[in-house]
Amino acid sequence: MSAVPHEVTLARPFQLGAGAQRALIRIATGVVLLVAWELLVRYFAPPFVARPVTVARALPHVLANHLPPGTPTFWGAAGATVTAAFEGLAIGLLAGVLVGLTMGRLRTADRLLRFYVSAFFAMPIIALVPVMTLWFGYTGTVRLAIVSLGAFLPVCLNVYDGTRSLPAHYVEVARSYHAHWWNVWFGIALPASLPYLLAGFRLAVGRVLVAAVIAEYIVSLKGLGYFILYDGRTFHQPEMMVAVLFLALLGVVVNAAADVATRRLLPWYRRSE
């Protein structure tokens, strides 16, 4: 495992530079993309395929829950997915911080667990969804388990990396003031690895959404994944697209929140370049 947080390096989203001109270019590009989507689908795809006009028409119906009887409701589905995602994030965050700190501070724990954590981190955890249906039945527990695991791994690895790159003199100073081990763990190592923790959190958000949707597809749970699958199969693509857009929005908003949190909570943290 390297000491680099497992996250992509991105341009800071939505940076306001030479304001109006940028905004204009972006809106124009958006319009071009939408028109291209509309025309391509209208003339080259089967009539049931979603295009911007039909999605826009479906949007108010979906948001107001005016759907054909028997179909899953949008807000019920969104609530179920978002709740499971946040529960999983909370569990994964807590467990990830504890295990990551332990591995970072105790060499034996590191050596015992490193192999498992990095193997599980590398593998696509959705491989475990089918076998989890044998363990937990076709229930929401499968989704919660897979989502928690998806959040746990990146957080754990990043906290571990952050703790490992703790400058040694921090610990030396603390020791010379008779700090207890818990002071070092939670008073020094944890705050020092917060930037890593946030990087892990951002990665966790993406994994959690993918894991939740896949679990809902396979287990047929009430949620956005099942909503998408159901509407896709019953040729209600515009309704389906609303749910896809909601998921995209969710990903963007949580990532932006993590960005703001980094700037607000960690003003002392500057990128080294």
Binding site: R12, R111, A119, A199
Partner: protein, 265 residues
């Protein structure tokens, strides 16, 4: 660039020097296999299989040719999807880095797609492209392309002005500038993107095997789960884990190789 990024990693020894550094991980693996065996023996065969049964299943699937065929099919899908992702991400990234209007215009949409869980689009892709190999390759590419694209743009934009000035002052032509300065400078960034793309493409591979035409390793997992044959399911999961670990190690090695090159620039 994201607000969060690692500081320069401290070089750490890959090979543990002490005896404990070799022994303890082995003990850890042995404990893991032991727990697996014990849990497997004390639960119903339909929910968990012991380690020994899993190894036996692995062996029988290998001998019957079932596993090699599945592995080959999965790797073809993964390779094709990742290949397209690399080509599109790299060349698309270079173009976007160079053409300001396109970059500024597309940036928010690219970031949005990067944050979207691509699995949500699988039913849409199914309706447009069917469920055969072509559709699955598109899914894998859609999973893998974004980090490659974003990192390439980032790399191509951060070529140092000094390098460009020196090249220009030696009357370097535009194609030569690209070949000798911009592309070599960008490659390490692209490699970071490719490493991340490998992990995401693997998820895409499995997701498309689950949800479109069932083939390869994903199909193995699905059919043996339906038969409540946990030994075979766990064997397939084990193979995927080993494959993923191997691919990530390769990705990391390539990335480190190019990072050294970058440090030398």
């Amino acid at each position: 660039m994201s607000a969060i990024e690692a500081r320069a990693p401290k070089p750490r020894l890959i090979a543990p020097r002490s005896v404990a550094g070799v022994l303890v991980p082995l003990v850890g693996l042995a404990i893991g296999a032991g727990i697996w065996e014990l849990v497997g023996r004390h639960t119903q065969a339909a929910s968990f299989a012991p380690f020994s049964a899993t190894v036996k299943a692995l062996w029988s699937m290998t001998r019957s040719g079932e596993l090699p065929r599945a592995l080959e099919s999965s790797l073809q899908l993964f390779g094709a999807g990742l290949g397209f992702a690399i080509v599109i991400g790299f060349f698309g990234g270079l173009v976007l880095a160079r053409v300001r209007v396109l970059r500024v215009g597309l940036e928010p949409y690219i970031l949005m797609l990067y944050a979207t869980p691509m699995v949500a689009l699988i039913p849409f892709i199914l309706s447009l492209f069917g469920f055969e190999f072509r559709a699955k390759v598109i899914v894998v590419t859609l999973f893998g392309v974004w980090p490659i694209l974003i990192n390439t743009i980032e790399g191509a934009r951060s070529v140092s002005a000094d390098l460009l000035e020196v090249a220009r002052s030696y009357r370097s032509t535009e194609p030569k500038l690209w070949r000798h300065v911009i592309i070599p400078y960008t490659l390490p960034y692209t490699m970071t993107g490719i490493r991340q793309g490998i992990a995401r493409s693997l998820v895409g591979m499995l997701a498309s095997e689950y949800l479109l035409a069932a083939t390869g390793l994903g199909n193995l997992i699905l059919i043996y789960t339906q038969r409540f044959d946990t030994a075979h399911v766990l064997a397939a999961v084990l193979v995927i884990t080993l494959l993923a670990t191997l691919l990530m190690a390769i990705g990391r090695a390539i990335e480190n190789y190019f990072a050294r090159w970058k440090a030398g620039v």
